[in-house]
Symmetry: C2
Subunit: 113 residues, 2 copies
DNA sequence: CGCTTTCATCGACACCTGTGAATGTGTTGG
DNA sequence: CCAACACATTCACAGGTGTCGATGAAAGCG
């Protein structure tokens, strides 16, 4: 027999490996990571994080994207629970979601590399 | 005048906001998050992290995916620098990349929620 | 030497996603 | 009121991505 045989029908372990993370939680995590898997959204989050509060009209120029695109990205980030928007007057002000604030700053400025 | 006017052509700040994260670094981060933006890869990483060393043939059944699909996901994770593969005999053994080990465990088991 | 096993690659398909023009909705200001 | 503005929504399209069957390459086994 080989030195170290992969888990076939071995008796030491069940037929299949029990994942430490189940499919449901994996989907939740993947969906959250998907919200961060876009350069525009990373920069958008970075701007919101650095300025505290930003309206959409202040995002189109630095991100060099059209207004519908910016609106799309803010919606994605909001649905992921990373930012929250408040309509004041005719502007929508975006800031980091309080619950995700620490995590976002860790993701962006943390030991990413 | 409105209470708080968005940064238009204001004189207190430059015409456009300087993002705390530039486009290049944003792309790097986004690419890394893209590798985690899939439920199968999250579970795959979780299995590798919990068992230390796994060969591809031990992944097809718990993940309920075909062999080419597993090969695709391991390639993606390896290209992202999250896992490393070593060919021993006819099996390819996967384990967490040493540089990314702490980060991966934080991503999966950390205060993700 | 064949035969099997393990994995990677290719090709094809369905699906998802980022993008922007056009349009709609609500608000402000004259 | 009506015009201008900020933003969301709709629609359409190009490109990316997950998936698997088929095929190929490399390594062990009899």
């Amino acid at each position: 027999m080989a030195a170290t045989t992969p888990t076939r029908g071995g008796s030491s372990l069940p037929d299949f490996v029990t994942p430490a993370i189940g499919p449901v939680e994996a989907g939740t995590l993947a969906r959250r990571f998907s919200a961060l898997a876009d350069p525009v959204r990373i920069q958008l989050l970075s701007i919101v994080a650095s300025r505290g509060e930003v309206c959409s009209c202040d995002l189109t120029r630095p991100l060099a994207k059209s207004q519908p695109t910016i609106s799309h990205h803010t919606t994605v980030l909001a649905n992921a629970g990373l930012i929250v928007g408040e309509k004041r007057g005719r502007w929508t002000w975006w800031r980091l979601a309080p619950e995700a604030r620490a995590e976002v700053r860790r993701m962006l400025g943390g030991p990413g590399s």
